[in-house]
Symmetry: C2
Amino acid sequence: MIIDSHAHVVMPPQSFRYMAELVGGRANPSTNPNIPDEAVRKQAEELVRSMDAVGTDIQFISPRPYLQMHSVKPARVTELWTRHCNDLIKRFVDMFPDRFRGVAGLPQHMHESPAEKCVAELKRCVNELGFVGTLLNPDPTEGDGPAPAGLGDPFWYPLYEAMTELDVPALIHSAGSCNPRESYTLKFINEENIAVISLLESTVFEKFPNLKIVVAHGGGAIPYQMGRFRSWSVRRNSPVTFDEQLKKLYFDTCNYSKDSIELLLKVAGTDNVLFGTEKPGTGSARDPISGRDYDDMKPVIDSIEWLTDEQRKNIFECNCTRVYTRAFRNYKGA
Amino acid sequence: MIIDSHAHVVMPPQSFRYMAELVGGRANPSTNPNIPDEAVRKQAEELVRSMDAVGTDIQFISPRPYLQMHSVKPARVTELWTRHCNDLIKRFVDMFPDRFRGVAGLPQHMHESPAEKCVAELKRCVNELGFVGTLLNPDPTEGDGPAPAGLGDPFWYPLYEAMTELDVPALIHSAGSCNPRESYTLKFINEENIAVISLLESTVFEKFPNLKIVVAHGGGAIPYQMGRFRSWSVRRNSPVTFDEQLKKLYFDTCNYSKDSIELLLKVAGTDNVLFGTEKPGTGSARDPISGRDYDDMKPVIDSIEWLTDEQRKNIFECNCTRVYTRAFRNYKGA
């Protein structure tokens, strides 16, 4: 089975209209998002077709990260929008229960603690909508800082408590960027670096030994910059190597380059990497060299000669089912 | 010849005392940095010994980046400190003219344009002290933002004009970090990502075709995250591929991991990578696997089997002499 652990919902035109009115009207929209089934089905069917075209059995879909609007004021905009996106995802899953699973967006906002609104929405998504994981944005100011403390800080504990209680992982993925020098794509990568180091330098995994964190896009720069952190770890007489520490985290393959995926697999290990493509998304363009879209990642994994069949199966399926334990409780097969 | 293009001056205790008084006294120090020759020679000799231990013929030394204090107020602190560091470097070069070359620090400060003080100090360093290049920090606020516009912005043109007029390259290297969630090491990497994309998305190299930019630490995350930018380039119908664009820039090997250096060489090409170790520095710790220090990078380059002798010579020497054209005008050999 090919599970794409990192994908996003595709929105019908009505969602964009709602979004526009929400933002323009500052959470005072003139219409409710009453989107007919056929409009949702059209998008869901198109997404299923794009999965079929590359051999993906099931996608875990979350809100489109760069459109999460975590720093738009007032916070009510974000709250309403997050709820709308999560409800839309639920409709996709209901329409194609063997092809989709829901991953929640959270109504994170600027410096608000995730204790209340985020935990409540996560519980709603998991307990009522059947979602299997959540996005987590380390900088809900979206670069309109100062950002909250790193993910190793107790600021985030209420969310970790809820996640471990519900037994759902978080996919670390920042949202938009208000800073013209740092595009959202750069922000994704840079926040992943900050997230990895903050978590590994903290006591979070001692306090929450069952916490499961997946770092998107192959972990930003960290697998490539291992040398700095290995050395740093030795210089501080750390009882465990940086390579061992890294094993506390999971990573996905949304990286679109074979050489990089090989580096990631060597560094993070084949048990800690989850197949993910974010298709359709950033990688949806034809690579003139391979003749395939950049985000058609299955052939890339297949072409890594030194992987055993078992390791490939782990990357495509078993690592994901191990992390997203709720995903296949009632699964009937694609 | 083995040229270490990325290294930093090692400071005598008197420099630290001066630094402490400068900062504590807010640019009103009670003493001038009158450092005796023997104190400077002791540090310089130690640095030469550490070079000899790993077979480095010559190091290009600049101020220690994380101690540049670009955001300490008032700006006069930075000015005095930068001048002190550059003068100290000049003494190292004078003591061992065949083992060192000077790379300038600039008195960058918060949002001040580099037009005046930076250009003046660069000209002094090149014309009077015989320096061969300069550091360039993309965020002189040191995370105490908002940062100036990216390096593709006309804000930086006065410096590029001076650099091309003097025919010296800049090594992109940020300084400290005021942000507790982003250590200076993370800031280095993240600013490199921002710098690369800002430069490549701009018209800087059309306006300054002779501008030479070296990106430190193997280019942050960019070589590892090529897939995202390749795809982005195709989606925008860019007339040149992202891989071709990247060839406008140079990178150094201060990365401390063989797998990553191989990835860098594949992506940036063996003509665009300069040997650099930053030794002694972040990588100065014993790797329990190799039994050598992480920053002992010559054996790492030597061990990359697919490199030809000519490519190795380019990495160790020729790429550097091509970029740092002023470095060997009066060189007599190590």
